[in-house]
């Protein structure tokens, strides 16, 4: 009864609001993407990727531009809504090996709450050998 008809649904858990997925495009490339629920946003400068094990050097491209806004305390900040995607380049991989994509992120909901930094990990099995080439994706954000 609390809140009655005016009550709003609880905000999503952060891993639902900011759903993270990663998949191998080929043995040297992982596509990593956030799908961001409506009404939620991620801060660009608070997204950090890494790949484990450390024996697999990785290169994360510059993240795509986000929506710019002026924050009274932090100045210029960029946010992503809808989603954001990057391709992570790997070196020295072993065919068939599994790697773990680790991402830190921090975001908020339009209803007026923010989540602490989230750490998400996705294990990706690399293809055993070069398979049909997958079109290389460019970093992008979508749905503004």
């Amino acid at each position: 009864m609390a809140g009655g008809a005016l009550a709003q649904p609880l905000p999503l858990a952060p891993n639902k609001a900011f759903r993270f997925e990663a998949r191998a495009l080929n043995p040297q490339t992982i596509e990593a993407r956030f799908s961001i629920a409506d009404g939620y946003y991620l801060y660009r400068d608070r997204i950090h990727f890494s790949v484990e094990p450390a024996t697999v050097p990785s290169t994360v491209p510059v993240l795509p531009e986000g929506k710019v806004k002026q924050d009274p305390f932090f100045g210029r900040v960029e946010t992503y809504r809808g989603g954001v995607q990057v391709n992570i380049a790997l070196k020295d991989t072993v065919p068939g090996q599994k790697v773990v994509v680790v991402v830190e992120s921090q975001g908020c909901a339009d209803v007026g709450i923010c989540y602490p930094v989230q750490l998400q990990r996705v294990t990706v099995a690399l293809p055993a050998a070069n398979v049909a080439p997958t079109r290389p994706g460019q970093p992008k954000s979508w749905l503004n």
Binding site: G3, D71, F73, F74, C108, V111, I113, C114, P116
Partner: protein
């Protein structure tokens, strides 16, 4: 008898999935450093109506509601209202923001351990801002995930002062 005040449609998520503890003892038992590093026990505020506000500089909604806390502290402080901030943040950023805002109540550095404490008080999502209001006996009478509206804040504390 301590009761959790329902949201009344004013707060966004005061009614949480799990009933938060109505015992404010764990909060008042805290001792946390202020921005200068000095340890501050919260039980120094026992006997007052205490609004404990979990916040961070990286949380824009947190910063937006704090000027109202400053106004309320100035207006009702001599009647026994005491705001206490617990920042899930780094001391230098907290200090800078506190000075910019002209904060007139203590804000302590809770780090991410403070998030865990807030979970036991009903903040299941560990999100910010999260506020709890304690009566003069130390009972939790209201918890709020999301900003406290000025009218809502004044309505709740007005009954407790």
């Amino acid at each position: 008898m301590a009761l959790v005040v329902p949201a009344l449609g004013l707060g966004i998520y005061a009614a949480m999935e799990n009933r938060p503890s109505t015992d404010g003892t764990p909060v008042l038992a805290l001792t946390l450093p202020d921005t200068s590093g000095k340890q501050q026990p919260l039980n120094q505020f026992r006997g007052k109506v205490v609004v404990v506000n979990f916040w961070a500089t990286w949380c824009a909604p947190c910063r937006e509601e704090m000027p109202e806390f400053v106004r309320a502290q100035a207006e009702f402080g001599d009647r026994g209202l005491q705001f206490v901030g617990i920042a899930v943040d780094e001391a230098d950023k907290v200090d800078r923001f506190s000075k910019e805002l002209g904060l007139n109540y203590p804000t302590l550095i809770g780090g991410y351990g403070a998030v865990e404490l807030s979970k036991t008080l009903g903040n299941n999502l560990a999100a910010l801002p999260f506020s709890i209001i304690l009566d003069r006996k130390g009972a939790v009478v209201h918890t709020q995930l999301g900003p406290l509206k000025p009218d809502q804040l004044r309505s709740i504390v007005g009954k407790l002062l």
